[in-house]
Symmetry: C2
Amino acid sequence: MRSPCPIASALDLIGDKWTLLVVRDLMFFGKSRYGEFLDSPEGIATNILADRLRRLEDGGIVVREGAGRRHDYRLTDKGEALRPVLKSLIDWGLAHIPGVATEPPPDYRG
Amino acid sequence: MRSPCPIASALDLIGDKWTLLVVRDLMFFGKSRYGEFLDSPEGIATNILADRLRRLEDGGIVVREGAGRRHDYRLTDKGEALRPVLKSLIDWGLAHIPGVATEPPPDYRG
DNA sequence: CGGGATCCGTCTTGATACTG
DNA sequence: CAGTATCAAGACGGATCCCG
């Protein structure tokens, strides 16, 4: 039994286009509700969003809070621990992707 | 015109399961040839690998060197700049994914 | 033999419509 | 508002073929 590569294992959880965008909304933009994620300019589809939220929950990265329909999603400690990943991604994007830093960027705190 | 989010832009380039695994092979395991990437334990298919290498090249993250068939892929400065992303992903995986750190991990230099 | 391209069946993704 | 149902389009995996 070889222990799996931590990069490969991490990418199994968060290695797709949409998952980290939801984490970004939670981490940097203070969003917590389904409808707020939907409003993001990238335009995630409703079924994809539901699927990613479920995977994030199954992976222990977010928790769903509140009873009934009006629940909030919140990052767990494991989810918060992704902050350096997001930060380094932001730094890389700003430095190396043309057109991304030409205007005052939104407020990526953290 | 809003400037696009650097995270979203970055994920357009590297936000999938396979791309960062190729970067990992280049960055940490000293691989540089098609056949070497194929040998990685995750088992990428030939068509997928060819596609990802082309995208990485188009995105300025790798360059293809050498004439004829026997060429090497090498990280550009833009590709090397992904090192903090990979590093933070390794740290997160080791700390938060069960089973990943139970044996002496391979040598992630950097 | 190494480095792909191509074809094909399957699984996933995504846009939209619909429901409680 | 927070999802599910439906269904088309694309990505994937695997095998095979091809070309130098």
